[in-house]
Amino acid sequence: MTIRFDLSEGSLRAQSHYRQVALDQMRPISRKYDLAEHALPREWVDYWWREGRFGAKGGAALANDGFVTICLQAEQLCWGDAGLYLRMPTPALGGSAVSAAGTKEQQAKFMAGFREVGGQPIWGAMAITEPHAGSDAAAIETTAEFDPATDEWILNGTKIFCTAGEGASTEPGGFVVVWATLDKAAGRAAIKSFVVPAGTPGMQLLGCEKKLGIRASDTATLRFENCRVPKDNLLGRAEVKKQEAAKAGEASSKDSSKDSSKDKGFKGAMATFDASRPIVAAMATGVGRAALEFLIEELARQGVVIRYDAPPRERTAIEKDVIEMEADLQAARLLTWRAAWMMNKGRPNNLEASMAKAKAGLAVTKITQKAVQILGPLGHSRKLLVEKWMRDAKINDIYEGTQQINQLIVARRILDYSSAVLR
């Protein structure tokens, strides 16, 4: 063991494979589905279902650097198109929740469809946010009530900002993991997650949001009206632990590694963010790199080549900007890989995951905005993709924990404060 930065052969193979996928399958239709907001990107979805999901030819099995490879995949595909990446038929965050908190039986049952060869594409999704509660996930009001007569849970409430929510709620075989409370008075301890299979009566797709960017992604509003799911669709245990109710949750959870997250209810659900935040950071890095690479290439076409060895006083404003953008992007990428590497090692990475997400979200927001700024009319024009990358990048500083939520988590960790002390 020693500090090193060379990627494994498997990672490198995945990296070049997904770059080619991004170039061949995503870039050519990137603008098309930015304009055709909400339309199903048929050619991309079919490609992914038919071929893409099986990875590089020869089957690049996930080795012990699996999470780093997943981050490389996310970076490359979002370098291709972040909206299309989010529209891929995969279990997505719904799958993460089932993997993190579900029993073997639940995993086998709900994930089976995603492993089938052939058939129609299906999606998974996670529904947490409600119209009045986003970052403060403990304040959700969707209810789950047990009906002993039928052995079913009855869900009632409205969810918004559900990524891939259209596909996951409507295409048979997919599912939405829904967060709901068993008892509003009991706080976060009473919040549980439920698997709602696509097409379940009482789950209604109300529509998709019109957004600044990632327009190819179906960001759904779902209404649950006496929506019944079997008893066994609850992830984790039904009991509302009193001590958990008394203790602060989220960032105060010290044992958020993936292995210890079962049956921890709210904390367990929050722990899935430790796995998903590095991926979002990697996605961000991909969008940022798309803009930065294009900027550097375009400058070179105009005869402006960045001099890395020019003394500070001789650097042009553009050189100074580009070098700073490159440094910020690479710092974000390395923080991301570190958080992913810790996942591989089974080490708690709550702090590092939030560091990566906070850095990457802000870095690519600034990088893409600066690229638009430097390129002037080229940056602003829809003939090129730079303006789209700027719009796509911004979401990375918002979803999966805003910049401020991640700062909060980092601050609690470094100060050793619970969420009750640092609010």
Partner: protein, 369 residues
Amino acid sequence: MIDFEPSEEQALIIETVHQFAENEIRPRSRETDESGVPPQALLAAAHELGLVANGLPEAMGGGGARSALTGALIAEELGWGDMALALAILSPGLVGFPVADHGAESLRRRVLPGLLGPSFVPGSLALVEPRFDFDVFHPKTTARRDGDAYRIDGLKCHVPWLAGGRHVVVIACESEGTGSGAAGPLAAFVVERDAAGLRAEPEQNMGLCGLPTAELVLEGVRVPAESRLAASDADLRRLIDRGRIAIAATALGAARAAFEVARDYARQRETFGQPIATRQAIAFKLADMAIEIDGARLLVWEAAAALDAGAEAARQVRLAQDQTARVALVVADSAVQVFGGHGYIRDYLPEMSLRNLAGLASYEALALV
């Protein structure tokens, strides 16, 4: 395969150096900053750890374990103790590494044994020149061939000049003509500190006050051809890059120290009945400091690993150096701000952190690993 864990040997080195920094360096940090004289006993104790010697060639009695990455790990811990003292402790490397890498055998035998002896002998490197538009790769100091010797003329600053040093490595541009502002290739020379025509004038600087430095006036300094290092322009650029990584790592350690005292202070200091660390305005500032320090450190490590692999690393070094300069200054300034009025007072660390970490870009070649 990618890995963020120091090797067992590196972990042991980090632990050893950190303990030394905590027990020996930090307690003398403030007094050294005020007096401007590093305690000889401290330098001697650091010398016994063999931090520089470990990287010098085995044939000369060194450890033969040269690594920019391990060097960065050492430099960060020393810098965490005190940046000026860290640079004083590392100063033998300023002569040792260039001579070990590029010196003729006779020069190596003349210079290296002294650095590897029982007592601490500081080294010096003269690279920076006192101009705002200084270009590290095109110094205005010239070296002209003069028979079997070279004649060096120029003005240097920020030259570590600790008591007891014998040699200084001078970086110049080789020049054919007689005019000033030569544009020839970089060349490096080992010059005796008491050479005729060399005058050292002690500097007074805002920061790094614990590190004695000098402005060097070189007027017709003659050195034998043998004292010229057999280093190409590219070799010297790589050497300078190693120095940039060393300085960046030292600065990161100093920034980390500022962050830690700010964090601890914020947990204790109360306003309106609550520790200020429980306020988001302070807590988020601390979070940003922690994130930026970690990000910059990974850039430094990555560049160091590239240097160790012998890869082309100029761009990575540039990114790491710039990011560290930016981050270190922001962190130091934030630490002062977290301390409020006390941050301005010389009883506390942050004001020194700010003086030490501002203008990092002009600290080229104050250390080598």
